[in-house]
Protein backbone atom coordinates (compact mmCIF):
# COMPACT_ATOMS: atom_id res chain seq x y z
CA UNK A 1 0.00 0.00 0.00
CA UNK A 2 1.30 3.43 -0.89
CA UNK A 3 1.64 5.74 2.08
CA UNK A 4 -0.42 8.86 2.22
CA UNK A 5 1.51 12.13 2.26
CA UNK A 6 0.20 12.91 5.70
CA UNK A 7 -1.89 10.74 7.95
CA UNK A 8 -2.96 11.95 11.36
CA UNK A 9 -4.73 9.48 13.65
CA UNK A 10 -6.43 10.21 16.96
CA UNK A 11 -4.06 13.04 17.72
CA UNK A 12 -4.25 14.37 21.25
CA UNK A 13 -2.13 17.34 22.26
CA UNK A 14 -2.01 18.40 25.88
CA UNK A 15 -0.94 21.68 27.39
CA UNK A 16 0.24 22.06 30.95
CA UNK A 17 -1.66 24.97 32.47
CA UNK A 18 -1.97 26.18 36.01
CA UNK A 19 -5.33 24.43 36.22
CA UNK A 20 -3.80 21.13 35.19
CA UNK A 21 -3.36 19.28 31.94
CA UNK A 22 -5.70 20.45 29.17
CA UNK A 23 -6.25 18.66 25.86
CA UNK A 24 -6.07 21.48 23.31
CA UNK A 25 -6.41 18.98 20.49
CA UNK A 26 -8.69 16.13 21.33
CA UNK A 27 -8.97 13.12 19.02
CA UNK A 28 -8.19 14.66 15.65
CA UNK A 29 -7.83 12.42 12.59
CA UNK A 30 -7.37 13.47 8.99
CA UNK A 31 -5.23 12.78 6.00
CA UNK A 32 -3.75 14.76 3.17
CA UNK A 33 -2.82 13.64 -0.33
CA UNK A 34 -0.14 14.93 -2.66
CA UNK A 35 -1.14 18.25 -4.16
CA UNK A 36 -4.29 18.45 -2.10
CA UNK A 37 -5.37 21.41 -0.07
CA UNK A 38 -7.00 21.22 3.30
CA UNK A 39 -8.31 23.93 5.51
CA UNK A 40 -8.78 24.23 9.25
CA UNK A 41 -11.50 26.64 10.26
CA UNK A 42 -12.58 27.88 13.65
CA UNK A 43 -12.56 30.70 16.13
CA UNK A 44 -9.47 31.83 18.02
CA UNK A 45 -8.35 29.31 20.59
CA UNK A 46 -9.98 26.31 18.97
CA UNK A 47 -6.72 24.46 18.33
CA UNK A 48 -6.05 25.36 14.70
CA UNK A 49 -2.59 26.77 15.27
CA UNK A 50 -1.78 24.06 17.80
CA UNK A 51 -2.43 21.51 15.07
CA UNK A 52 0.11 23.25 12.85
CA UNK A 53 2.68 23.44 15.62
CA UNK A 54 2.14 19.78 16.48
CA UNK A 55 2.74 18.79 12.86
CA UNK A 56 5.97 20.79 12.81
CA UNK A 57 7.11 19.49 16.18
CA UNK A 58 7.13 23.05 17.47
CA UNK A 59 4.79 22.76 20.44
CA UNK A 60 5.88 25.09 23.26
CA UNK A 61 8.68 23.35 25.11
CA UNK A 62 7.89 21.75 28.45
CA UNK A 63 4.31 23.03 28.22
CA UNK A 64 2.82 21.23 25.25
CA UNK A 65 3.19 17.60 24.23
CA UNK A 66 1.63 15.04 21.95
CA UNK A 67 -0.07 12.78 24.46
CA UNK A 68 -1.30 10.12 22.08
CA UNK A 69 -2.08 9.41 18.46
CA UNK A 70 0.16 9.40 15.45
CA UNK A 71 1.30 11.78 12.73
CA UNK A 72 2.64 9.89 9.75
CA UNK A 73 4.43 11.80 7.01
CA UNK A 74 5.10 9.53 4.03
CA UNK A 75 5.06 6.62 6.42
CA UNK A 76 7.49 8.27 8.86
CA UNK A 77 6.22 8.79 12.39
CA UNK A 78 6.53 12.46 13.38
CA UNK A 79 4.78 12.33 16.74
CA UNK A 80 7.55 12.35 19.34
CA UNK A 81 10.26 11.95 16.70
CA UNK A 82 13.73 13.12 17.70
CA UNK A 83 14.35 16.86 17.35
CA UNK A 84 17.20 16.13 14.94
CA UNK A 85 14.86 14.24 12.56
CA UNK A 86 12.19 16.91 12.82
CA UNK A 87 14.72 19.63 12.05
CA UNK A 88 15.61 17.94 8.77
CA UNK A 89 11.95 17.86 7.76
CA UNK A 90 11.10 21.39 8.91
CA UNK A 91 11.59 24.00 6.22
CA UNK A 92 12.63 21.30 3.80
CA UNK A 93 9.69 18.93 3.41
CA UNK A 94 7.11 20.68 5.57
CA UNK A 95 7.32 24.43 5.86
CA UNK A 96 5.17 27.07 7.40
CA UNK A 97 4.20 30.70 6.95
CA UNK A 98 2.99 32.73 9.88
CA UNK A 99 0.25 35.19 10.60
CA UNK A 100 2.32 38.31 11.21
CA UNK A 101 4.55 39.16 8.26
CA UNK A 102 5.63 42.32 10.07
CA UNK A 103 7.40 40.35 12.78
CA UNK A 104 8.15 37.02 11.13
CA UNK A 105 11.29 38.19 9.37
CA UNK A 106 14.59 38.72 11.13
CA UNK A 107 15.13 42.51 11.21
CA UNK A 108 18.94 42.38 11.09
CA UNK A 109 19.33 40.24 7.97
CA UNK A 110 18.46 41.22 4.41
CA UNK A 111 15.69 39.17 2.84
CA UNK A 112 18.18 37.63 0.42
CA UNK A 113 20.30 36.38 3.31
CA UNK A 114 17.23 34.92 4.98
CA UNK A 115 16.02 33.07 1.91
CA UNK A 116 19.45 31.76 0.93
CA UNK A 117 20.04 30.68 4.52
CA UNK A 118 17.27 28.08 4.18
CA UNK A 119 18.68 26.87 0.86
CA UNK A 120 22.20 26.53 2.21
CA UNK A 121 20.89 24.70 5.26
CA UNK A 122 18.75 22.08 3.55
CA UNK A 123 19.99 21.92 -0.04
CA UNK A 124 23.67 22.46 0.84
CA UNK A 125 23.82 25.11 -1.89
CA UNK A 126 26.84 27.36 -2.25
CA UNK A 127 26.53 30.99 -1.18
CA UNK A 128 26.38 32.22 -4.77
CA UNK A 129 23.87 29.76 -6.14
CA UNK A 130 21.66 30.19 -3.07
CA UNK A 131 21.70 33.95 -3.62
CA UNK A 132 20.84 33.48 -7.30
CA UNK A 133 17.98 31.19 -6.32
CA UNK A 134 16.76 33.75 -3.77
CA UNK A 135 16.46 36.28 -6.59
CA UNK A 136 14.50 33.78 -8.68
CA UNK A 137 12.21 33.05 -5.75
CA UNK A 138 11.50 36.74 -5.15
CA UNK A 139 10.65 36.96 -8.82
CA UNK A 140 8.37 33.93 -8.50
CA UNK A 141 6.41 35.60 -5.70
CA UNK A 142 5.98 38.70 -7.89
CA UNK A 143 8.28 41.11 -6.11
CA UNK A 144 9.28 43.71 -8.69
CA UNK A 145 12.97 44.29 -9.38
CA UNK A 146 14.13 41.22 -7.41
CA UNK A 147 17.83 41.82 -8.18
CA UNK A 148 17.70 45.02 -6.15
CA UNK A 149 15.08 44.07 -3.58
CA UNK A 150 17.02 40.96 -2.56
CA UNK A 151 19.36 43.30 -0.67
CA UNK A 152 16.51 44.98 1.17
CA UNK A 153 15.91 44.64 4.87
CA UNK A 154 12.45 43.70 6.13
CA UNK A 155 11.73 47.23 7.38
CA UNK A 156 12.04 48.51 3.81
CA UNK A 157 9.13 46.35 2.66
CA UNK A 158 5.38 46.55 3.04
CA UNK A 159 3.33 43.93 4.84
CA UNK A 160 2.23 42.27 1.62
CA UNK A 161 5.79 42.17 0.31
CA UNK A 162 7.03 40.68 3.53
CA UNK A 163 4.41 37.97 3.37
CA UNK A 164 5.57 37.26 -0.19
CA UNK A 165 9.11 36.95 1.12
CA UNK A 166 7.83 34.53 3.77
CA UNK A 167 6.17 32.51 1.04
CA UNK A 168 9.37 32.55 -1.01
CA UNK A 169 11.27 31.31 2.03
CA UNK A 170 8.73 28.62 2.77
CA UNK A 171 8.75 27.38 -0.82
CA UNK A 172 12.52 27.67 -1.27
CA UNK A 173 13.14 23.97 -0.77
CA UNK A 174 10.01 22.92 -2.66
CA UNK A 175 8.35 21.37 0.38
CA UNK A 176 5.72 18.68 0.09
CA UNK A 177 3.45 20.43 2.56
CA UNK A 178 3.06 24.15 3.15
CA UNK A 179 1.26 25.10 6.32
CA UNK A 180 -0.18 28.60 6.13
CA UNK A 181 -1.30 29.83 9.55
CA UNK A 182 -3.71 32.69 8.89
CA UNK A 183 -1.40 34.03 6.17
CA UNK A 184 -3.51 37.06 5.34
CA UNK A 185 -5.11 38.07 8.62
CA UNK A 186 -2.73 41.00 9.07
CA UNK A 187 -3.05 42.25 5.49
CA UNK A 188 -5.35 44.55 3.53
CA UNK A 189 -8.26 42.94 1.76
CA UNK A 190 -6.86 43.63 -1.71
CA UNK A 191 -3.47 42.24 -0.71
CA UNK A 192 -5.21 39.20 0.78
CA UNK A 193 -6.68 38.35 -2.59
CA UNK A 194 -3.26 38.73 -4.23
CA UNK A 195 -1.61 36.46 -1.67
CA UNK A 196 -4.25 33.76 -2.09
CA UNK A 197 -3.95 34.05 -5.86
CA UNK A 198 -0.18 33.67 -5.54
CA UNK A 199 -0.46 30.65 -3.23
CA UNK A 200 -2.87 28.95 -5.60
CA UNK A 201 -0.67 29.73 -8.54
CA UNK A 202 2.42 28.35 -6.87
CA UNK A 203 0.52 25.29 -5.77
CA UNK A 204 -0.40 24.37 -9.33
CA UNK A 205 3.20 24.99 -10.42
CA UNK A 206 4.97 23.07 -7.66
CA UNK A 207 2.36 20.50 -6.63
CA UNK A 208 2.77 21.40 -2.97
CA UNK A 209 -0.01 20.37 -0.63
CA UNK A 210 -1.35 23.25 1.40
CA UNK A 211 -2.80 23.22 4.88
CA UNK A 212 -4.57 26.53 5.35
CA UNK A 213 -5.48 27.64 8.82
CA UNK A 214 -8.00 30.44 8.90
CA UNK A 215 -11.23 31.79 10.25
CA UNK A 216 -12.09 33.32 6.92
CA UNK A 217 -14.78 31.28 5.16
CA UNK A 218 -14.15 33.17 1.93
CA UNK A 219 -10.51 32.10 1.93
CA UNK A 220 -11.52 28.51 2.53
CA UNK A 221 -13.94 28.53 -0.36
CA UNK A 222 -11.23 29.95 -2.62
CA UNK A 223 -8.30 27.87 -1.53
CA UNK A 224 -9.21 24.45 -0.22
CA UNK A 225 -10.95 21.32 -1.37
CA UNK A 226 -11.41 19.74 2.02
CA UNK A 227 -12.13 21.44 5.30
CA UNK A 228 -12.10 20.61 8.97
CA UNK A 229 -14.11 22.78 11.32
CA UNK A 230 -12.56 22.81 14.78
CA UNK A 231 -14.24 23.81 18.00
CA UNK A 232 -12.55 23.80 21.41
CA UNK A 233 -9.85 21.43 20.24
CA UNK A 234 -12.24 18.96 18.68
CA UNK A 235 -13.09 18.45 15.04
CA UNK A 236 -16.80 19.09 14.71
CA UNK A 237 -17.27 18.80 10.98
CA UNK A 238 -15.14 17.38 8.17
CA UNK A 239 -15.95 17.32 4.50
CA UNK A 240 -15.55 18.69 1.00
CA UNK A 241 -15.59 22.49 1.11
CA UNK A 242 -18.32 23.00 -1.47
CA UNK A 243 -20.53 20.47 0.22
CA UNK A 244 -19.98 21.71 3.77
CA UNK A 245 -20.67 25.29 2.80
CA UNK A 246 -23.80 24.28 0.95
CA UNK A 247 -25.16 21.87 3.53
CA UNK A 248 -23.49 22.44 6.87
CA UNK A 249 -24.60 19.83 9.37
CA UNK A 250 -23.07 20.87 12.66
CA UNK A 251 -24.78 23.88 14.27
CA UNK A 252 -21.36 25.50 14.78
CA UNK A 253 -20.53 25.27 11.07
CA UNK A 254 -23.95 26.70 10.26
CA UNK A 255 -23.24 29.55 12.64
CA UNK A 256 -19.81 30.25 11.17
CA UNK A 257 -21.16 30.34 7.64
CA UNK A 258 -24.07 32.58 8.48
CA UNK A 259 -21.69 35.05 10.12
CA UNK A 260 -20.29 35.87 6.69
CA UNK A 261 -22.33 38.27 4.60
CA UNK A 262 -23.31 36.81 1.24
CA UNK A 263 -24.08 38.74 -1.88
CA UNK A 264 -26.98 36.60 -2.99
CA UNK A 265 -28.35 35.20 0.26
CA UNK A 266 -30.77 36.77 2.65
CA UNK A 267 -28.97 35.95 5.85
CA UNK A 268 -30.09 39.13 7.51
CA UNK A 269 -32.63 38.38 10.23
CA UNK A 270 -35.87 40.12 11.03
CA UNK A 271 -34.07 42.91 12.88
CA UNK A 272 -31.84 43.61 9.90
CA UNK A 273 -28.79 42.34 11.72
CA UNK A 274 -26.07 40.01 10.58
CA UNK A 275 -26.36 36.82 12.60
CA UNK A 276 -23.73 35.80 15.10
CA UNK A 277 -23.00 32.85 17.33
CA UNK A 278 -23.95 33.85 20.87
CA UNK A 279 -21.55 33.23 23.72
CA UNK A 280 -17.82 32.54 23.68
CA UNK A 281 -15.47 29.57 23.36
CA UNK A 282 -15.48 27.59 26.63
CA UNK A 283 -12.56 28.16 28.99
CA UNK A 284 -9.63 25.77 28.85
CA UNK A 285 -10.82 24.19 32.08
CA UNK A 286 -13.80 22.68 30.29
CA UNK A 287 -11.70 21.22 27.47
CA UNK A 288 -11.67 17.46 27.53
CA UNK A 289 -14.85 17.02 29.58
CA UNK A 290 -17.26 14.36 28.39
CA UNK A 291 -19.95 16.55 26.85
CA UNK A 292 -20.56 18.59 23.75
CA UNK A 293 -18.45 21.70 24.32
CA UNK A 294 -20.62 23.71 21.94
CA UNK A 295 -23.82 22.90 23.84
CA UNK A 296 -23.84 26.11 25.88
CA UNK A 297 -24.01 28.19 22.68
CA UNK A 298 -26.23 25.88 20.67
CA UNK A 299 -29.91 26.52 20.08
CA UNK A 300 -30.54 22.83 19.45
CA UNK A 301 -29.02 21.65 22.72
CA UNK A 302 -30.64 18.85 24.68
CA UNK A 303 -30.02 16.69 27.74
CA UNK A 304 -27.69 14.28 25.98
CA UNK A 305 -25.38 17.09 24.80
CA UNK A 306 -24.42 17.91 28.37
CA UNK A 307 -24.01 14.29 29.41
CA UNK A 308 -21.93 12.74 26.68
CA UNK A 309 -19.46 13.81 24.03
CA UNK A 310 -20.91 13.34 20.53
CA UNK A 311 -18.88 11.03 18.31
CA UNK A 312 -17.69 12.13 14.90
CA UNK A 313 -19.94 10.13 12.61
CA UNK A 314 -19.27 9.68 8.93
CA UNK A 315 -22.17 9.89 6.52
CA UNK A 316 -22.63 8.37 3.13
CA UNK A 317 -21.79 11.63 1.37
CA UNK A 318 -18.35 11.60 3.11
CA UNK A 319 -19.32 14.50 5.30
CA UNK A 320 -18.61 13.79 8.95
CA UNK A 321 -19.75 15.73 11.98
CA UNK A 322 -20.03 15.44 15.73
CA UNK A 323 -23.53 16.30 16.96
CA UNK A 324 -26.23 14.37 18.77
CA UNK A 325 -29.10 16.04 17.01
CA UNK A 326 -28.14 14.98 13.52
CA UNK A 327 -31.51 13.73 12.24
CA UNK A 328 -33.41 16.80 13.27
CA UNK A 329 -30.90 19.18 11.71
CA UNK A 330 -30.79 16.99 8.64
CA UNK A 331 -34.53 17.27 8.32
CA UNK A 332 -34.73 20.96 9.12
Amino acid sequence: MVDKLLEVKNLRVELQTKDGVVPVIDDLSFDLDYGESLSFVGESGCGKSMTALALMGLLPEKVGRIASGSIKFEGRQLANASSEDLRKIRGNEISMIFQEPMTSLNPVLSVGEQISEVLRLHQKMSVNSAWKRAEDLLDAVNIPDPKRRVHDYPFQMSGGQRQRVMIAMALACEPKILIADEPTTALDVTVQAQIFGLLKDLQTKTGTSIILITHDMGAVAQMARKMIVMYAGRPCEIGEVAQVIKTPQHPYTTGLISCVPHLDDAIIDANNRLSEIPGIVPSLREFGSNKCLFASRCKHQMEQCRAERPVLAQFSNKQAFACWKREIIDAG
Binding site: F98, L105, N106, P107, L121
Partner: protein
Protein backbone atom coordinates in the same frame (compact mmCIF):
# COMPACT_ATOMS: atom_id res chain seq x y z
CA UNK B 1 11.06 71.60 5.77
CA UNK B 2 11.17 68.87 3.21
CA UNK B 3 7.96 67.47 1.88
CA UNK B 4 7.23 63.98 3.00
CA UNK B 5 8.08 62.17 -0.19
CA UNK B 6 11.64 63.44 -0.55
CA UNK B 7 12.26 62.99 3.14
CA UNK B 8 11.12 59.42 2.89
CA UNK B 9 13.16 58.58 -0.19
CA UNK B 10 16.22 60.13 1.35
CA UNK B 11 15.68 58.05 4.44
CA UNK B 12 15.46 54.90 2.37
CA UNK B 13 18.63 55.75 0.51
CA UNK B 14 20.57 56.49 3.65
CA UNK B 15 19.38 53.58 5.72
CA UNK B 16 20.66 50.72 3.64
CA UNK B 17 21.08 48.46 6.67
CA UNK B 18 20.42 48.62 10.42
CA UNK B 19 24.10 49.25 11.12
CA UNK B 20 24.29 52.04 8.53
CA UNK B 21 21.22 53.60 10.11
CA UNK B 22 22.83 53.44 13.55
CA UNK B 23 25.97 55.11 12.20
CA UNK B 24 23.81 57.92 10.79
CA UNK B 25 22.34 58.42 14.25
CA UNK B 26 25.75 58.25 15.89
CA UNK B 27 27.22 60.88 13.57
CA UNK B 28 24.57 63.36 14.66
CA UNK B 29 25.61 63.03 18.32
CA UNK B 30 28.36 65.65 18.76
CA UNK B 31 29.55 64.51 22.18
CA UNK B 32 29.89 60.94 20.99
CA UNK B 33 31.73 62.03 17.85
CA UNK B 34 34.10 64.10 20.02
CA UNK B 35 34.68 61.01 22.17
CA UNK B 36 35.36 58.96 19.07
CA UNK B 37 37.90 61.51 17.78
CA UNK B 38 39.69 61.66 21.15
CA UNK B 39 39.76 57.89 21.30
CA UNK B 40 41.12 57.74 17.77
CA UNK B 41 43.90 60.19 18.62
CA UNK B 42 44.81 58.29 21.77
CA UNK B 43 44.84 54.98 19.90
CA UNK B 44 47.01 56.34 17.08
CA UNK B 45 49.26 57.93 19.71
CA UNK B 46 49.66 54.68 21.57
CA UNK B 47 50.53 52.83 18.38
CA UNK B 48 52.89 55.33 16.73
CA UNK B 49 53.87 57.47 19.73
CA UNK B 50 56.83 55.30 20.78
CA UNK B 51 58.21 55.59 17.22
CA UNK B 52 57.97 59.36 17.18
CA UNK B 53 59.17 59.77 20.77
CA UNK B 54 61.54 56.85 21.24
CA UNK B 55 62.93 57.76 24.68
CA UNK B 56 62.99 54.63 26.84
CA UNK B 57 60.53 55.19 29.72
CA UNK B 58 62.88 53.31 32.05
CA UNK B 59 65.90 55.50 31.31
CA UNK B 60 66.88 57.98 33.97
CA UNK B 61 67.29 61.02 31.80
CA UNK B 62 67.57 63.91 34.21
CA UNK B 63 67.36 64.83 37.89
CA UNK B 64 64.28 63.54 39.76
CA UNK B 65 61.25 65.78 40.22
CA UNK B 66 62.11 68.27 37.57
CA UNK B 67 58.82 70.10 36.93
CA UNK B 68 57.08 70.01 33.54
CA UNK B 69 58.74 72.02 30.80
CA UNK B 70 62.14 72.20 32.43
CA UNK B 71 65.15 71.07 30.40
CA UNK B 72 62.91 70.27 27.45
CA UNK B 73 61.02 67.55 29.30
CA UNK B 74 57.44 68.48 28.54
CA UNK B 75 55.89 66.54 31.46
CA UNK B 76 58.97 66.72 33.67
CA UNK B 77 60.59 63.74 35.39
CA UNK B 78 59.43 61.34 38.09
CA UNK B 79 61.01 60.34 41.40
CA UNK B 80 63.75 58.36 39.62
CA UNK B 81 64.41 61.05 37.02
CA UNK B 82 62.58 59.21 34.24
CA UNK B 83 60.93 61.14 31.40
CA UNK B 84 57.23 61.34 32.29
CA UNK B 85 56.16 62.08 28.71
CA UNK B 86 57.84 58.88 27.51
CA UNK B 87 56.14 56.97 30.32
CA UNK B 88 52.69 58.33 29.48
CA UNK B 89 53.13 57.58 25.78
CA UNK B 90 54.44 54.08 26.32
CA UNK B 91 51.96 53.42 29.10
CA UNK B 92 49.00 54.22 26.84
CA UNK B 93 49.57 51.04 24.88
CA UNK B 94 49.44 48.81 27.96
CA UNK B 95 46.43 50.57 29.45
CA UNK B 96 44.45 50.39 26.20
CA UNK B 97 45.41 46.81 25.40
CA UNK B 98 44.53 45.60 28.89
CA UNK B 99 41.28 47.56 28.83
CA UNK B 100 40.31 46.13 25.46
CA UNK B 101 41.35 42.54 26.03
CA UNK B 102 39.85 42.40 29.53
CA UNK B 103 36.58 43.66 28.03
CA UNK B 104 36.80 40.95 25.34
CA UNK B 105 37.37 38.26 27.96
CA UNK B 106 34.40 39.38 30.01
CA UNK B 107 32.15 39.74 26.94
CA UNK B 108 33.10 36.26 25.82
CA UNK B 109 32.29 34.74 29.22
CA UNK B 110 29.20 36.91 29.73
CA UNK B 111 27.65 36.35 26.31
CA UNK B 112 28.22 32.60 26.41
CA UNK B 113 26.70 32.20 29.85
CA UNK B 114 23.86 34.65 29.23
CA UNK B 115 23.00 33.09 25.86
CA UNK B 116 22.92 29.53 27.21
CA UNK B 117 20.82 30.60 30.21
CA UNK B 118 18.37 32.65 28.19
CA UNK B 119 18.01 30.15 25.38
CA UNK B 120 17.71 26.85 27.20
CA UNK B 121 15.92 28.08 30.32
CA UNK B 122 15.08 25.47 32.96
CA UNK B 123 17.78 24.02 35.17
CA UNK B 124 20.60 25.26 32.88
CA UNK B 125 19.40 28.81 33.48
CA UNK B 126 19.05 28.17 37.22
CA UNK B 127 22.61 26.90 37.56
CA UNK B 128 24.21 29.55 35.34
CA UNK B 129 22.36 32.43 36.96
CA UNK B 130 23.30 31.23 40.46
CA UNK B 131 26.94 31.12 39.29
CA UNK B 132 26.52 34.64 37.90
CA UNK B 133 25.09 35.85 41.19
CA UNK B 134 28.00 34.24 43.04
CA UNK B 135 30.46 36.25 40.95
CA UNK B 136 28.32 39.33 41.31
CA UNK B 137 28.50 39.40 45.09
CA UNK B 138 32.26 38.78 45.23
CA UNK B 139 34.17 41.95 46.14
CA UNK B 140 35.69 42.48 42.70
CA UNK B 141 38.89 44.28 43.58
CA UNK B 142 39.75 41.83 46.37
CA UNK B 143 39.00 38.82 44.20
CA UNK B 144 41.12 40.05 41.31
CA UNK B 145 43.92 40.87 43.76
CA UNK B 146 43.77 37.30 45.01
CA UNK B 147 43.97 35.95 41.44
CA UNK B 148 46.90 38.19 40.54
CA UNK B 149 48.67 37.46 43.82
CA UNK B 150 48.23 33.71 43.36
CA UNK B 151 49.10 33.39 39.67
CA UNK B 152 51.63 36.18 39.26
CA UNK B 153 51.34 39.75 38.06
CA UNK B 154 51.79 39.21 34.33
CA UNK B 155 49.74 41.27 31.88
CA UNK B 156 47.84 38.13 30.77
CA UNK B 157 46.92 37.28 34.34
CA UNK B 158 45.79 40.83 35.05
CA UNK B 159 43.64 40.78 31.90
CA UNK B 160 42.06 37.47 32.89
CA UNK B 161 41.53 38.63 36.46
CA UNK B 162 39.70 41.76 35.32
CA UNK B 163 37.69 39.72 32.81
CA UNK B 164 36.66 37.15 35.40
CA UNK B 165 35.34 39.71 37.87
CA UNK B 166 33.43 41.89 35.40
CA UNK B 167 31.41 39.60 33.10
CA UNK B 168 28.27 39.36 35.24
CA UNK B 169 26.57 42.47 33.86
CA UNK B 170 27.04 41.23 30.29
CA UNK B 171 25.65 37.83 31.22
CA UNK B 172 22.54 39.34 32.74
CA UNK B 173 21.94 41.70 29.82
CA UNK B 174 22.46 38.90 27.30
CA UNK B 175 20.12 36.60 29.18
CA UNK B 176 17.33 39.15 29.42
CA UNK B 177 17.64 39.99 25.70
CA UNK B 178 17.55 36.28 24.84
CA UNK B 179 14.49 35.74 27.02
CA UNK B 180 12.72 38.52 25.13
CA UNK B 181 13.86 37.69 21.61
CA UNK B 182 13.44 33.90 21.77
CA UNK B 183 9.67 34.41 21.99
CA UNK B 184 9.47 36.64 18.91
CA UNK B 185 7.86 35.39 15.74
CA UNK B 186 10.92 35.45 13.52
CA UNK B 187 12.68 33.10 15.91
CA UNK B 188 9.71 30.75 15.66
CA UNK B 189 9.81 31.16 11.88
CA UNK B 190 13.50 30.27 11.85
CA UNK B 191 12.78 27.24 13.99
CA UNK B 192 10.09 26.29 11.53
CA UNK B 193 12.60 26.44 8.71
CA UNK B 194 14.75 23.84 10.44
CA UNK B 195 17.56 25.95 11.87
CA UNK B 196 19.67 24.25 14.57
CA UNK B 197 19.80 25.48 18.16
CA UNK B 198 23.39 26.72 17.88
CA UNK B 199 22.55 28.68 14.74
CA UNK B 200 19.39 30.05 16.40
CA UNK B 201 21.36 31.21 19.41
CA UNK B 202 24.34 32.80 17.72
CA UNK B 203 23.08 33.44 14.19
CA UNK B 204 19.54 34.64 14.77
CA UNK B 205 19.05 35.78 18.37
CA UNK B 206 22.51 37.15 19.21
CA UNK B 207 22.69 39.67 16.33
CA UNK B 208 19.35 41.05 17.49
CA UNK B 209 20.53 41.14 21.10
CA UNK B 210 23.75 42.97 20.22
CA UNK B 211 22.82 46.66 20.70
CA UNK B 212 22.75 46.68 24.52
CA UNK B 213 25.69 44.27 24.62
CA UNK B 214 27.74 46.60 22.42
CA UNK B 215 26.93 49.56 24.65
CA UNK B 216 27.84 47.62 27.76
CA UNK B 217 31.08 46.43 26.13
CA UNK B 218 32.14 49.95 25.23
CA UNK B 219 31.60 51.10 28.80
CA UNK B 220 33.41 48.03 30.04
CA UNK B 221 36.60 48.98 28.20
CA UNK B 222 36.58 52.17 30.27
CA UNK B 223 36.02 50.41 33.54
CA UNK B 224 38.68 47.81 32.71
CA UNK B 225 41.20 50.61 32.19
CA UNK B 226 40.22 52.04 35.57
CA UNK B 227 40.45 48.58 37.12
CA UNK B 228 43.94 48.03 35.73
CA UNK B 229 44.93 51.45 37.07
CA UNK B 230 43.58 50.43 40.46
CA UNK B 231 45.53 47.19 40.51
CA UNK B 232 48.73 48.92 39.37
CA UNK B 233 48.23 51.61 41.97
CA UNK B 234 48.26 48.86 44.58
CA UNK B 235 51.44 47.50 43.03
CA UNK B 236 49.80 44.48 41.47
CA UNK B 237 51.32 44.88 38.06
CA UNK B 238 54.21 43.73 35.97
CA UNK B 239 57.08 45.99 37.10
CA UNK B 240 58.75 45.62 33.70
CA UNK B 241 56.03 47.42 31.77
CA UNK B 242 54.75 50.95 32.14
CA UNK B 243 51.04 51.63 32.39
CA UNK B 244 49.23 54.77 33.49
CA UNK B 245 48.09 53.17 36.72
CA UNK B 246 51.61 52.03 37.43
CA UNK B 247 52.99 55.56 37.00
CA UNK B 248 50.47 56.84 39.53
CA UNK B 249 51.17 53.92 41.86
CA UNK B 250 54.92 54.33 41.87
CA UNK B 251 54.76 58.10 42.38
CA UNK B 252 51.99 58.15 44.94
CA UNK B 253 54.28 58.79 47.93
CA UNK B 254 55.39 62.07 46.38
CA UNK B 255 51.91 63.35 45.61
CA UNK B 256 52.38 66.39 47.88
CA UNK B 257 55.85 67.32 46.66
CA UNK B 258 55.43 66.62 42.94
CA UNK B 259 51.71 66.43 42.27
CA UNK B 260 52.21 66.53 38.48
CA UNK B 261 53.72 63.02 38.51
CA UNK B 262 50.34 61.70 39.59
CA UNK B 263 48.11 64.28 37.95
CA UNK B 264 49.36 63.86 34.38
CA UNK B 265 48.79 60.10 34.05
CA UNK B 266 45.56 60.65 36.01
CA UNK B 267 44.37 63.09 33.35
CA UNK B 268 45.33 60.59 30.65
CA UNK B 269 43.13 57.95 32.29
CA UNK B 270 40.35 60.46 32.86
CA UNK B 271 40.28 61.66 29.25
CA UNK B 272 40.39 58.14 27.84
CA UNK B 273 37.63 56.79 30.07
CA UNK B 274 35.53 59.89 29.44
CA UNK B 275 35.94 59.47 25.67
CA UNK B 276 34.93 55.82 25.93
CA UNK B 277 31.88 56.75 28.01
CA UNK B 278 30.82 59.36 25.47
CA UNK B 279 31.15 56.82 22.68
CA UNK B 280 29.22 54.30 24.77
CA UNK B 281 26.39 56.77 25.39
CA UNK B 282 26.34 57.65 21.69
CA UNK B 283 26.10 53.99 20.81
CA UNK B 284 23.28 53.60 23.31
CA UNK B 285 21.30 56.39 21.65
CA UNK B 286 22.06 55.14 18.16
CA UNK B 287 21.30 51.49 18.83
CA UNK B 288 18.37 51.72 21.19
CA UNK B 289 15.26 51.83 19.00
CA UNK B 290 13.04 53.03 21.84
CA UNK B 291 15.09 56.15 22.36
CA UNK B 292 15.33 56.61 18.62
CA UNK B 293 11.56 56.70 18.29
CA UNK B 294 11.35 59.61 20.68
Amino acid sequence: MMDRKTENSEYLEQASSPSAEAWEMFKRNHAAMAGLVILFVITIGSIFGPLIYPTDPFDMVWAPFSPPGEEGYLFGTDYLGRDLLAMVIHGARVSLVIGLSAAIVSIFIGVTIGALAGFYRGYIEEILMRVTEFFQVLPTLLFSMVIVALFGASLTMITIAIGIVSWTAVARITRSEFLRIRELEYVMASRASGVSNTKLMFGIILPNALPPIIVQSALMVGSAILFEAGLSFLGLTDPNVVSWGQIIGSNRQYILDASYTVTIPGIAIFVTVLAISLVGDGLNDALNPKLRAR
